[in-house]
Symmetry: C2
Subunit: 197 residues, 2 copies
């Protein structure tokens, strides 16, 4: 068998990861069984192990793929020559895009990371803590430059991250509101508030 996959450009392993993302999101990591996953893939459960090492490994793959995407994008934004306000807007918009484009994976990374085994659990948490610290630094710079109000930067980061994360509840209203309105209104809300003055 050739080492280079022909035909469709996705390996069976990719299919398994994709299906497991959806399953872990819907039922939670522990409640999702390998037999269910096998059903979704269209195979018997033991056959999965021809492609993956373990159930845990699936979770690791999903969580770190997401974490790395966020980290990479943050580095790019940090290096941009623009105002702090613009940087924050870029970050908000990237989070929204990720939530909408890779919903299952981001959801799993947000909710099921606690079922990672060591040392992956510690790695993941460190990576997330680091991400937050870099966001705090950006907010602090904005305050120092008088671009932003003198609020606590940790509170601001918490509020920003939590708000965009809440997009996981979005699907319900999908039909009524365009993604553009969603993004624009959320950016406005988080930067300028909702009150008139």
């Amino acid at each position: 068998m050739s080492k280079i996959k022909l035909g469709k450009n996705t390996s069976k392993k990719d299919v398994i990861i994709k299906k497991s993302s959806a399953l872990f999101k819907t039922k939670g990591f522990n409640a999702a069984s390998m037999r269910e996953l096998a059903d979704a893939v269209g195979v018997e459960a033991p056959s999965l192990y021809n492609h993956i090492g373990s159930k845990s490994e699936l979770l690791q793959t999903i969580c770190f793929k997401v974490a790395n995407e966020f980290t990479t994008q943050l580095t790019e934004t940090e290096n941009k020559k623009c105002s702090i306000t613009d940087k924050i807007e870029l970050i908000i918009r990237f989070h929204i895009t990720m939530m909408l484009d890779k919903f299952d994976e981001v959801f799993v990374a947000n909710h099921e990371w606690k079922h990672l085994q060591e040392p992956f659990l510690s790695n993941f948490l460190n990576q997330r803590r680091n991400y937050e610290k870099r966001l705090v630094a950006i907010i602090e710079e904005g305050i120092a430059k008088k671009e932003l109000k003198n609020i606590n930067p940790y509170v601001a980061v918490l509020t920003l991250l939590s708000a965009v994360r809440g997009l996981e509840f979005w699907q319900r209203h999908k039909k009524n509101i365009s993604i553009k309105v969603l993004e624009d209104d959320m950016v406005t809300h988080l930067l300028k508030g909702i009150t008139m003055l």
Copy 2:
């Protein structure tokens, strides 16, 4: 044995519910075992069943207790004679208080509700949907009265709810920031934004 509990005013059932809240929060509903819960209570697993009906029942109790508290408070706020902005501030502050005072229970209601069995699952989701609709109505009234910017009310509710919910990540910075600063800065952020102008 008397029917009225003497001494401490909490029954063993209350202890079990409290301990299960903490356990479900830490490990998740499925990963938390009745043996662990029994350990935490200081008893063998089967003894729990002298006080409770089932593991599922524990989750139901936790979720609906929280849901009812939020619903009750919202009704009170709706009936208040004050500006829309003040109502929103009241709601934000109540959510923050709940997150800080009943962290375990609120966390479980937010994260583990999906493991509720029918018909409790549907009931819970209906109750939550109804809560959101009432919040949207408040925002809409604020927009109509020109108190609030003309943003999409669903997006605003999503942003507000998600932001306060994010307080579940709070414990990390607890030492550095007082609850007052936290509340005030978050209210400012969500009402007036973070940019200077």
